[in-house]
């Protein structure tokens, strides 16, 4: 009798809590990558780019001067320059690693809300003087310095010697699931002149002054770059400005579309459960006509009869809901383990599911209960 409700509530509870849990996890990973949300990012190239921008896959359109000009905009507080390259050979004695190498400006830590776990980050002076210093991520440390203290050791990045001056804190996984810790950070000027020999940037991260209006800041940045690059619309931009807030909204929306569809399916199951309750309560009413007659004759008003049958319908739906939630909870545990989602306990969907099952009981119990209250007592008692 309660199977429909049980199935409906089970799937509803599982789906909504997976949806909620995935959404939170996505946001967390996104935040891991971006660091802060009060930024606007500029990539070279107008079209969509597959994967991370690197020195080998972007056009050479974004220059150090652009960064300087952006920093002078009233909407912008701070600009970080970046030159990124992936799978660079790094050696320490006989050990090797192939991390991403990020040439960045010295304000990187603030802009990414990153932290140094050990040692120090490089200074602006070290950036200007093209110092060959490196700050390494936890994965690189694991590969190259399983036991030793890496600080003050010399590593070779693409055969260029660098001194390790610090160790980054772990950032965990990015939106695609890959590690954000397999990284070496060096001064961007050093990267440009002493390592990669390229004079263009792969990304600019600009911190906006007013987070509420990061869209306006993005527009101002785009206008500035068009002017500097002599681009007149409708000619396409040779850069792309994105704000994490907008990207975040898009990601969350994609997640919620799936959740909506699945929720629709679950509601369907719940609806079927409700109809089953209604028909079974109707049968109960006709089987218990005598009881209704007795209760009416000894003083039950129509309202009392309605309440009694409504309560029974709600009880059935509620028990179904509880069973559904218990199964759903178990299912959720299994799914999070298989999907390697963090065991995120989101109780709201379960509470909502129970409330919903009660509502289903009321909605589909009201008609049979009303019918029960209309039973003619004398006819019922004489039959």
């Amino acid at each position: 009798m309660m199977l429909g409700i049980v199935l409906g509530i089970t799937s509803l509870a599982i789906l909504t809590s997976i949806g909620e849990s995935t959404k939170r996890e996505t946001m967390q990973r996104f935040k891991n990558m971006i660091g802060t949300f009060d930024t606007v990012m500029v990539r070279p190239g107008g079209g969509r780019l597959r994967g991370m921008p690197t020195l080998v896959n972007v056009p050479p359109t974004l220059k150090f001067d652009d960064a300087q000009a952006m920093a002078d905009l009233p909407e912008i507080r701070n600009v970080a320059e970046m030159q990124t390259a992936f799978d660079i050979d790094v050696k320490y004695r006989d050990r090797t690693s192939a991390p991403a190498v990020f040439g960045v400006s010295d304000n990187w830590l603030t802009l990414r809300s990153d932290e140094v776990a050990d040692g120090a980050f490089f200074t602006s002076e070290q950036n200007v003087s093209l110092a060959r210093v490196a700050v390494i991520g936890p994965d690189v440390r694991r590969d190259l310095f399983p036991v030793e203290d890496p600080v003050a050791k010399t590593i070779r990045i693409a055969d260029v010697p660098f001194q390790v001056i610090g160790l980054l804190k772990s950032r965990g996984a990015g939106p695609a699931g890959g590690s954000l810790d397999n990284i070496i950070v060096i001064p961007v000027n050093t990267a440009s002149r002493r390592l990669f020999n390229r004079d263009f940037l792969t990304m600019l991260i600009a911190q906006v002054k007013d987070t509420e209006h990061s869209g306006q800041a993005a527009d101002a940045v785009a206008a500035l770059l068009r002017e500097r690059h002599h681009i007149r619309p409708p000619a396409p931009d040779d850069f792309t400005v994105t704000s994490p807030t907008a990207t975040m909204a898009r990601v969350t929306r994609a997640g919620s579309t799936l959740t909506k569809i699945l929720t629709g399916v679950a509601l369907m199951a719940l609806l079927i459960g409700g109809v089953v309750i209604m028909s079974l309560m109707s049968i109960a009413v006709s089987e218990r006509r005598k009881e209704i007659g007795v209760r009416r004759s000894v003083g039950a008003a129509r309202g009392d009869i309605i309440l009694q049958f409504l309560f029974e319908a709600v009880l059935v739906a509620f028990v179904g809901g509880i069973v559904g939630v218990l199964i759903g909870w178990g299912g959720m545990e299994i799914v999070t383990r298989i999907q390697k989602l963090p065991p995120l306990l989101v109780w709201q969907p379960f509470a909502a599911a129970i409330v919903l099952s009660i509502l289903v009981g009321v909605a589909f119990g009201i008609y049979p209960a009303w019918k029960a209250s209309r039973v003619d007592p004398i006819q019922a008692l004489r039959s």
Binding site: S297, L381, R382
Partner: protein
């Protein structure tokens, strides 16, 4: 106690056809009377029972019960009157199955003030001689026992009027005699009882007979002398 004045009841059937079940009935019943209402089926007995029992309302006329005008009341008010002033005893006992005898007796208390007094229910069962069967389920009781539980249930809220519908129709003679004996004792204690029957032998227990035909009263007379008795095993 009961004052009926010009009570009529018309039922609307489909396509404007109306059926007159009662046509202007008037009578009075004084406290402590034991009255039989007789008539063939279709004479209006059931309709009258519904109206007297506040399960239905008349289309016209006035009905005073225990000094209170009970015409034109809401369902809730009628339910309260049924609960406090009327005890029903039916032909088919109508106990709730899967419910014990004493729980059946307690049902009217649920709709009174919601407070169920087990000792009162047990006392009522004691009165009908069934204290020893209190915790038996309704289905485990014999017909006569079930009807005695039904009587205990009808009495539990000390009603002003006891309405009885063919009380022995589903009982054998012996059980029927026991039930009628109980009703006579209740009358002896001053209860007002109105009994609907088409059985002469049952009507013979009463002191007054009202006869209905086609929704009108055709005779209303008091019985003279000692009422007859339904002898166990005797012909009726």
């Amino acid at each position: 106690m009961i004052e009926l004045e010009n009570i009529s009841k018309t039922y609307k059937r489909s396509e404007g056809v109306t059926v007159e079940a009662l046509r202007g009935i008037s009578f009075r019943i004084s406290p402590g009377e034991f009255v039989a209402v007789r008539g063939a089926s279709g004479s209006g007995k059931s309709t009258l029972l519904n109206i007297l029992g506040c399960l239905d309302q008349s289309t016209a006329g006035s009905y005073r019960l225990d000094g209170e005008n009970v015409s034109a009341r809401t369902d809730k008010q009628l339910s309260r009157i049924r609960n406090g002033k009327i005890g029903f005893i039916f032909q088919s006992f109508n106990l709730l199955p899967r419910t014990t005898a004493v729980e059946n007796v307690e049902i009217p208390m649920v709709y009174n003030d919601g407070r169920v007094d087990r000792s009162r229910a047990l006392a009522a069962l004691e009165r009908v001689g069934l204290a020893h069967r209190a915790s038996h389920y309704a289905t485990e009781l014999s017909g006569g026992e079930q009807q005695r539980v039904a009587i205990a249930r009808a009495l539990i809220n000390r009603p002003a009027l006891i309405l009885v519908d063919e009380p022995t129709g589903n009982l054998d003679l012996r059980a029927g005699a026991e039930v009628m004996g109980l009703l006579r004792n209740l009358h002896g204690e001053g209860r007002t009882i109105l009994l609907v029957t088409h059985d002469d032998a049952i009507a013979a227990y009463t002191h007054r007979e009202i006869e209905l035909r086609d929704g009108s009263i055709v005779s209303d007379h008091r019985r003279t002398g000692e009422p007859m008795q339904l002898a166990p095993g005797g012909a009726s």
